[in-house]
């Protein structure tokens, strides 16, 4: 074996390469960097896409609030420089509903993980979709509970391993776009973290939509999901997405199941109009006031 060599210092050809201001710094809490996500984790990419979309969508970011729950993705609220709330496990949608209903002038973005939104928060997810609360839900799906150390999630593909499915997952996973669609979401899209530009466009579009919009972001978890399943690290997952993603816009959401290392269908699946909760509420209010002669 060779003798160890000393670390090579100063290999940057351009010494000024580390200076300057990152263009996303005005929307991020740079004082908190580096963030807690592991190397090759995809959540950072979802945040990049989100911040890029915020710039692109040209909306008043002062009138926005981002709510996250618990988990790796739950930390997003702490890094995005909006009015940001890091709430309890599974409840960001309920918390956001309160914000939205109490002050309809605020655009609410719920940014959280699959375990948070679909497992423990599944009820709030379907009910907010049913009510068509005006909010954008960005659900980062990495197929596992990563913050707690790699437990099986309701999105873990069949037969995939996790610490609480040491013999392979025995529960079929959720098809998030399908459930969002059937519960009544008005905008549903899915992208992987590799498709940053398309993801950015989708988020931009969804931000401008009125009603319950869901963007699912398939993200690598290089530390738990792919390590337990021997899939390499996040980079290998990105390569996998590159080879196995099929983009089918407008596909029927029932065909979007994800199996263990099978093809992933991405695209924008649902984009429709439905009266939102506040619209129905206001209509009700005017009826009530009208009936009482208070118009």
């Amino acid at each position: 074996m060779e003798e160890p060599t000393k670390a090579i210092k100063e290999i940057h050809p351009d010494p000024s390469a580390t200076s300057g201001v990152h263009p996303m710094e005005n929307l991020l809490r740079m004082e908190r960097m580096p963030h807690i996500w592991c190397p090759t984790c995809g959540i950072g990419l979802a945040v990049t896409a989100f911040t890029a979309a915020l710039t692109k969508a040209n909306i008043d970011t002062n009138k926005m609030s981002i709510v996250s729950g618990i988990g790796c993705t739950g930390r997003v609220a702490g890094y995005v420089k909006l009015d940001s709330f890091h709430t309890t496990h599974g409840r960001p949608i309920a918390f956001g509903t309160g914000i939205r209903v109490a002050n309809p002038g605020i655009k609410v973005v719920v940014f959280s993980g699959d375990g948070d939104l679909i497992a423990i928060g599944g009820n709030h997810f379907i009910h907010a979709a049913r009510r068509n609360i005006d909010m954008l839900v960005i659900c980062v799906n990495n197929f596992i509970y990563a913050m707690t150390g790699g437990q099986v999630a309701p999105t873990t593909p069949l037969a995939a391993y996790a610490t609480t499915s040491p013999y392979g997952c025995v529960e079929p996973p959720f098809n998030i776009p399908y459930i969002a669609d059937s519960a009544g979401a008005v905008y549903v899209a899915r992208w992987t973290t590799l498709h940053v530009r398309r993801l950015t466009n989708s988020i931009t579009e969804a931000l401008q939509k009125t009603g319950f919009s869901v963007v699912e972001v398939i993200s690598p978890c290089g530390m738990y999901y792919s390590r337990i399943n021997r899939l390499g690290d996040g980079l290998d997952m990105m390569r996998f997405y590159h080879d196995n993603v099929e983009i089918r816009n407008g596909e029927d959401t029932k065909n979007l199941d994800i199996g263990f290392q099978t093809k992933i269908i991405c695209g924008k699946f649902v984009d429709r109009e439905r009266p939102s909760y506040m619209e129905r509420y206001n209509q009700w209010l005017s009826e009530v006031k009208g009936a009482r002669g208070e118009g």
């Binding site: 618990i70 496990h89 423990i120 610490t163 609480t164 499915s165 040491p166």
Partner: protein
């Protein structure tokens, strides 16, 4: 009854408290765990998931804590022993169904690895601030049993004991461990199956037509039946009579709920487990439980070096509370020092039982760490030097508090 050798992983292990508890559950005959991952309790669930299926046990990771505990109550009524595992926030979510389980007199075990709170708090670090919650957290009146183990070996032993007491008194039993013990790794000796005593469920064996699910035996505990045996069970969380049928008059609430409370209160001498050390001639008695009792060992040692006669009383069972023991000690003790990793919970019960006969010094700690033993020693010294009778609980000012609030301290990440 003895444990089933199939379920006992006899041997010497170097494992942490969580895992030890998972193994303990298996040895105790637990056949079903429903859980939901939450730091720092996941290791116990994982240990069970890994070994359970090989001995015919079932596990399921539910969608949330509400689902977990409901599934556990359901599984118990199908006739097996069952358990759930959680930490603070999950524990809070379970509160409704814990009360429901108490109302149904369901024997199940709940392992709570406490962490720093309130709310999300410090997930990866310790706390003991759910102690009062374990006693009072659900609505309505009920009583239950809570253990506070201090080492991985005890996590194993008391998980088995928890199952036994749950079956014996048909009530939820809590194992109120904490992150320190849960993540502390030590040698754990798992004995042979024939050295492990198991309390079998008290099943009703008579004719189904005559079965009354809530008719108590003389020890106030009714016999159980399981679903699927043709008993035509009618079990409700509403107030019910001996048949289990709902009743809506107050007399029943006075009688039935009173029995729920009394079956623990009147049997408490059989349940309570304490460890005493040098309390006979002590001036000061340190009352502690869980990890705090191990930290207190050092504090007591320092205080003894300073020439103070200190005894220690360790609450192995925190609930039911040993009222009489404390009252008896209070007669001859000058003061009690209570170190807890919270800002005062069990200390109020100590204060209650002392009836003004001794002073009470609380050594608080907010969590995310354990006491500095020097604080405990100083508190002991303070208590020994104070001759005046003080009303109420004295909150000892710890080094940490002085540092943070008086020392011009700046937070660093």
């Amino acid at each position: 009854m003895k444990a089933n050798p199939k379920h006992v992983l006899t041997g010497v292990y170097y494992i942490d408290g969580d895992v030890a508890s998972g193994y303990g559950a298996m040895a105790a005959g637990c056949r079903f765990i429903a859980g939901y991952p939450i730091t720092p309790s996941t290791e116990a669930f994982e240990a069970f998931c890994r070994w359970g299926p090989q001995v015919g046990a079932m596990f399921i990771q539910m969608e949330d804590e509400l689902g977990s505990i409901s599934a556990v109550v359901g599984a118990v009524w199908s006739g097996i022993k069952s358990m759930t595992i959680t930490s603070g926030p999950g524990y809070s979510l379970m509160m409704e169904t814990i009360g429901y389980g108490a109302m149904l007199e369901t024997p199940f075990v709940l392992l709570n690895i406490q962490r720093g709170g309130p709310s999300t708090g410090v997930p990866t670090k310790t706390g003991q601030a759910d102690m009062m919650q374990s006693r009072w957290g659900s609505h309505g009146d009920y009583e239950l049993i809570a253990f506070a183990p201090e080492s991985p070996q005890e996590m194993f032993d008391y998980t088995i004991r928890a199952f036994n007491l749950a079956e014996k008194y048909r009530c939820p039993v809590m194992i109120m461990s904490d992150e320190c013990v849960g993540h502390m790794t030590e040698k754990v000796v798992i004995p042979e199956a024939d050295k492990i005593d198991i309390e079998p469920r008290r099943f009703y064996t008579g004719p189904p037509e005559q079965y009354l699910p809530f008719k108590p035996d003389p020890d106030l505990v009714p016999k159980m039946a399981k679903a699927g045996d043709g008993f035509k069970l009618y079990i409700t969380g509403l107030l019910h009579d001996e048949k289990g049928h709902p009743v809506s008059n107050e007399e029943y609430s006075m009688k039935y709920v009173k029995r729920l409370v009394d079956k623990i209160r009147l049997n408490k001498d059989k349940i309570i487990e304490l460890k005493e050390e040098n309390t006979e001639d002590a001036d000061i008695v340190v009352v502690s439980y869980g990890i705090s009792s191990r930290v207190a060992v050092k504090g007591v040692e320092i205080a003894r070096q300073r020439g103070i006669k200190v005894g220690a009383l360790r609450l192995v069972t925190v609930w039911p509370f040993p009222d009489e023991k404390i009252a008896e000690l209070a007669k001859k003790t000058k003061a009690f020092v209570v170190p807890e990793i919270n800002y005062g919970q069990v200390v109020f019960d100590v204060a209650r039982c002392v009836h003004g006969q001794s002073n009470i010094v609380l050594v608080p700690h907010g969590g995310a760490g354990v006491h500095n033993p020097a604080d405990i020693a100083d508190a002991i010294e303070y208590a020994a030097k104070t001759d005046k009778q003080i009303e109420g609980v004295v909150e000892f000012k710890t080094r940490l508090e002085k540092l943070v609030f008086e020392g011009g301290f700046k937070l660093k990440e």
